[in-house]
């Protein structure tokens, strides 16, 4: 397993005081908190920071960690020393809160400090196992806008903590095939009853919550249940009106553009957005007039003719 240099993670020296550790943690926690941060790998970084703080804030854990020595480098292949059982006896609060994501601290942390928590999780070694409800789990999945519109099935890989026969907590990969109902919106959570962590001693499993993330689409933009489309039109279509084929998530429809249309004009296709209760979303079409370049002599002549026939001081209001 990889050695974790908790001091490096928090940007501290090995001689840092408790205050310095707290300050460094607070700063980095704000920076990388997955709810707040827009940084790349925020979630991963946050977990690392949390793990480092979990160890360094606790003087006993810190002392035990320091015992490993300063010769180790971050990411270096690490084997626990032969007498590493000496580090057990820590009651760890491992998860940030009931809502925290799947997968906890690193294998390194587990190897050094994990024992005590497991001892807590299955004190039942000596006693009869007590009945305990499993934890709720949370994960995020990304689906296409088309899937959000039509509904569909998707297979997701989940890292789930699992207690094996020896009572050790491990991360197992589970594949779940999920039927997504039509009309899910970005950020919505779906609940999969009893698909969370299994209960102990015959307790009911927790639930699994899946947060939907919708992939950016090539042409459509989503706002809640409303779908936006920028529709390029030619100047003569704008001036004279036209019937234009427009894509919607439900297929192509014909839209009438009234004469005198301008860039920025919005048209609404009622009920053509994402399905939903009480009402489905709408599709909005934002017109954008495209001015074709004058490449040939004939094209130039056309523009010149327009200039002569349609004199208009469009900038007069600027002065």
């Amino acid at each position: 397993m990889e050695f974790k240099d908790y001091y490096t993670t928090l940007g501290l020296s090995r001689t840092a005081t408790a205050d310095e550790i707290k300050r460094a943690y607070r700063k980095l926690a704000r920076k990388y908190h997955p709810d707040v941060s827009k940084e790349k790998n925020a979630e991963e970084r946050f977990k690392e920071v949390q793990e480092a703080y979990e160890v360094l804030k606790d003087s006993k854990k810190r002392a035990a960690y320091d015992q490993l020595g300063s010769q180790w480098k971050n990411g270096q292949d690490f084997r626990p020393p032969p007498d590493w059982q000496g580090f057990s006896g820590f009651g760890g609060t491992r998860f940030s809160s009931e809502g925290e994501g799947l997968g906890g601290f690193s294998d390194f942390f587990e190897a050094i400090f994990g024992q005590a928590r497991q001892g807590g999780a299955h004190r039942g070694h000596q006693r009869a196992p007590f009945k305990q409800q499993g934890r709720d789990e949370h994960a995020r999945i990304t689906i296409s806008l088309e899937d959000a519109f039509h509904g569909g099935s998707k297979t997701v890989q989940l890292q789930v903590p699992e207690v094996d026969a020896q009572g050790h907590l491990r991360h197992a990969t589970r594949a779940l095939k999920i039927t997504i109902p039509a009309g899910v919106t970005a950020g919505q959570q779906l609940r999969l009853a009893k698909q969370g962590t299994p209960g102990a001693g015959g307790g009911t499993p927790g639930d699994l919550y899946l947060e939907m993330e919708i992939q950016p689409h090539r042409v459509f933009t989503l706002q809640g249940r409303d779908v936006y489309l920028t529709l390029p039109i030619m100047p003569w279509e704008a001036a004279l009106g036209a019937k234009v084929a427009v894509p919607t998530l439900g297929g192509s429809v014909e839209v009438k553009i009234t004469p005198g249309a301008q860039t920025g004009q919005k048209l609404r296709l009622k009920g053509r957005g994402l399905p939903g209760k009480p009402l489905p979303g709408d599709q909005y079409i934002v017109l954008q007039v495209y001015v074709p370049p004058a490449n040939t002599e004939a094209e130039r002549a056309l523009y010149e003719k327009m200039g002569k026939e349609m004199p208009l001081d469009i900038r007069k209001n600027l002065f």
Partner: protein, 105 residues
Amino acid sequence: MVKKDLTIIAIEAEPELSLEELCETCHITPKFICELVEYGTLEPKGVALETWRFDTRHLQRIQRVLRLQHDLEINMAGAALAIDLMDQIEKLQAQIELLEKSLRV
């Protein structure tokens, strides 16, 4: 250790929770919820406490508040403010995306 375990699950669409169910799901007290409703962070359906109904979006906000409180050591008012600001940022970002798209064509 990789365990393959394929299960097909149909998801129940939009489960609605009562105050009691919500507290049970999130392991929090009704007082906590009431406070969040007072701050306007949660806007449940229904007028009276007994008829309040919450959906998964509310659940998500509560989890967010819990995470912020715990991880960043901020109080309820701070968490409520952070959530308001995050909502605003989300809206603005959606608008920016929309505008950028309409300018790019």
